[in-house]
């Protein structure tokens, strides 16, 4: 069968107006960093510099935390829940109104395909604010006591894989519960967070309730370590999560951590194979595999191994890698040169350790950071590619014979964020779901998210849950 040819279908970037320089958003104003430091954010699909962004130093962190404290004490803490709700509803509406601009901006800054930023990220961002807006005036019914209190100032540090979505996961519940926030987006993807600052202004959110400070790891560490914060929320790598857990030791700061994963995606011989193959592809190639809950370890029952692998290779051959703004693109750019180097290094380790590497024939653009969809077979549990989080479009395939072996292998990891199960047998789904040590189990589906659905990890994938009623706990005293 000849491959389908697709004409380019680029989304227009005209809806986005990127400024050459961005300051920090503190106390309702954009301000420059005290010591004038800045860094550049680049388009990972072209390596072109998009903007110069201020780097917050300790003095800026302090200023932001003080602004958040003032807003908490004077305005946001005392405000009735019904009014907080209205601000959050306003924000949700403005996100919907500016959805196209935000989707394009996210794809430009992050490298993710517009198909995903438009159809997944931005609709979920709006949904998160809508959903938590409705909690703001219903907190006494949430099951955390009759008079649940906010914690105060929340320090929030988020990653680069879902810049605006992770912002909404952090800010929406924090504000709903009556906290104020200082949020630090990742240094490679600050632009949509800064656009969100403008959304806060349009919503006339009181100054200081949301503060956004940009910078790299040092800024994050200064924020997390600041004496004036009552709560630390972090999404990112397990290593940084460990450092944060150490740094808050001996303090009264409440902490939630959403960390790495090495999810098993388990395919039984009675699974609907075509659906399973779609799920495998979605599990590992969604968002270039830059997903902490990505299904990066495929466990296939031996009896259907050949069939699954044949169809998987065929399906992978139809994935289109390239311009994130093209509506036909399935796999966009790797977010940064640094991340690309890590993916390459682990992929080389995989080959050096004896696994077989395969990628469909695909041409990668000359500029930008790219990695083709990649499949490793002949992988054992001892291989580093089966143990370490790669955070890229790289799938390792292992096999099993019995359900018990599948459980054993799936759980054989220090992580416990997510897992997938593919089988037609309902009783087996429930049996597997009971035994998999993971915070999210997707049965006959993968990578689904919803503001009403608790998400978070077991074991070294962190602690606390985001989403739903459970997500409120992170921001309430108790």
């Amino acid at each position: 069968m000849p491959p389908f040819e697709y004409a380019p279908a680029p989304e227009s970037a005209a809806v986005v107006d990127i400024r050459s320089h961005y300051g920090l958003f503190v106390d309702g104003e954009f301000v420059d960093a005290t010591d004038g430091q800045s860094f550049k954010t680049v388009n990972p699909a072209s390596e072109e510099v998009l903007a110069e962004v201020s780097a917050a130093g300790p003095a800026d962190v302090d200023r932001a935390v003080r602004a958040a404290r003032r807003a908490y004490d004077r305005v946001w803490g005392p405000m009735p829940g019904r009014d907080r709700a209205k601000y959050l509803y306003r924000i949700a509406r403005i996100i919907q109104e500016r959805a196209r601009e935000l989707a394009v901006l996210e794809s430009i800054d992050n490298g993710k395909p517009i198909r995903e930023s438009r159809d997944v990220d931005i609709p979920l961002v709006a949904a998160w604010f809508f959903s938590y807006a409705g909690w703001a005036d219903k907190l006494p019914y949430a099951g955390f006591g009759a008079d649940p209190r906010p914690l105060g100032v929340a320090a929030q540090v988020i990653p680069w894989n879902f810049p605006l979505l992770m912002l909404s996961w952090k800010i929406a519940p924090a504000l709903a519960c009556g906290n104020t926030v200082v949020l630090k987006p990742a240094e490679t993807t600050p632009l949509t967070a800064l656009a969100f600052a403008d959304i806060c202004r349009q919503a006339e959110l009181p100054p200081g309730v949301v503060n956004i400070i940009t910078g790299a790891g040092e800024t994050g560490a200064a924020l997390v370590g600041h004496d004036g914060v009552d709560k630390v929320a972090f999404t990112g790598s397990t290593d940084v999560g460990r450092q944060i857990a150490r740094s808050v030791a001996g303090t009264t700061k409440k902490v939630t951590l959403e960390l790495g994963g090495k999810a098993a995606n388990v395919v039984f011989d009675d699974a609907p194979i075509d659906q399973a193959v779609e799920g495998i592809v979605n599990g590992i190639f969604f968002n270039q595999g830059h997903v902490c809950c990505a299904g990066s370890r495929l466990l296939v029952q031996e009896s259907v191994y050949d069939e699954v692998l044949d169809r998987l290779r065929t399906r992978m051959g139809t994935l289109r890698v390239g311009d994130p703004l093209d509506k036909n693109t399935d796999i966009g750019a790797i977010n940064s040169a640094e991340q690309l180097a890590r993916i390459r290094a682990l992929s080389e380790v995989g080959q050096a350790e004896g696994a077989d590497i395969w990628s469909p024939p695909c041409e990668l653009p000359e500029h930008g950071y790219w990695f083709p969809p990649t499949l490793f077979t002949g992988v054992t549990q001892a291989h580093r590619i089966a143990r370490e989080e790669i955070f890229g479009p790289v799938l390792s395939v292992l096999t099993f014979r019995t359900p018990a072996e599948a459980v054993e292998k799936a759980n054989n990891t220090p992580y416990g964020l997510s897992a997938g199960v593919w089988t037609d047998k309902g009783s087996r789904i429930l049996w597997m779901a009971e035994r998999l040590r993971a915070g999210v189990v997707w049965a006959n589906t993968f990578n689904k998210f919803d503001p009403a659905s608790p998400f978070g990890g077991y074991k070294e994938s962190g602690y606390g849950r985001e989403g739903g009623r459970h997500g409120l706990e992170a921001y309430l005293a108790g």
């Binding site: 150490r246 689904k448 009403a452 706990e473």
Partner: protein, 297 residues
Amino acid sequence: MPAERKPARPEPRVGVRKTYKLYIGGAFPRSESGRSYVVEDAEGGFLANAALASRKDARDAVSAAAKAGPGWSARTAYNRGQILYRIAEMLEGRRDQFTTEVAAGEGVPRKAADVVVSAAIDRWVWYAGWADKITQVLGSSNQVAAPYFDFSVPEPTGTVAVVAPQDSSLLGLVSVVAPAIVSGNTVVVLAAETRPLPAVTLTEVLATSDLPGGVVNLLTGRVAEVAPWLASHMEVKAIDLTGVTDAELATDLERSAADNLKRVVRPTTGADWNVDPGLDRLRAFLETKTVWHPVGI
């Protein structure tokens, strides 16, 4: 055949003293280190030599707890509730002994000690009732904006290490152990350092209450010596620092716990163990698992 000689007057009976041991994997070993330490009453009088647990004892206890975990968490909630209730029954039957030990250790009159023992018994009954209810209260069916059946259930975290409260040697101890095990976790608990005797006696109750060996393992000894091994042990998934009174040590323990991202309950001083415990301690050792499945025909 010589006639039996009768003493001129009855001698006061020489009591049989109790040897206080550890409780690991359902057995009562002495410390492998062969060490013991003196436990005094509130006036400084000698009460007993308790086992001084070592690093090896701590590791044995963690192994036992980890081994017991899958079986205990797989029991039905109904069965776990029954067993916790059985603990209350056995404790009720031995209340005199506990009253004596609490009175001696905490330096309170028998009457006050009796109130403490009653509260400890009632606490087991309270938690026993939670076994089959906590899932309904903390779990949920989630309405997502797509055709999926999506539900969340609480599940045990695994092996929990507990530094028991130092002041309340029985009620405090029960208040930290019961909420951890009722949901299917297994524990290694370090008893109050200077008042460990009611805890050891409680293990005799546990051993005769249908509680599987290894679900609760008790160490007696020095917090500063044993707790660091528990905090750094990779098999321990959560640590309750309630009874750590040294702030610097507590910080060190919390830092060690970060190595495998243990769930940490920070120290509490001056807690009132008589008030309604609420759900915080139950929630502290539970994970939430969310399961998605498509809905369709």
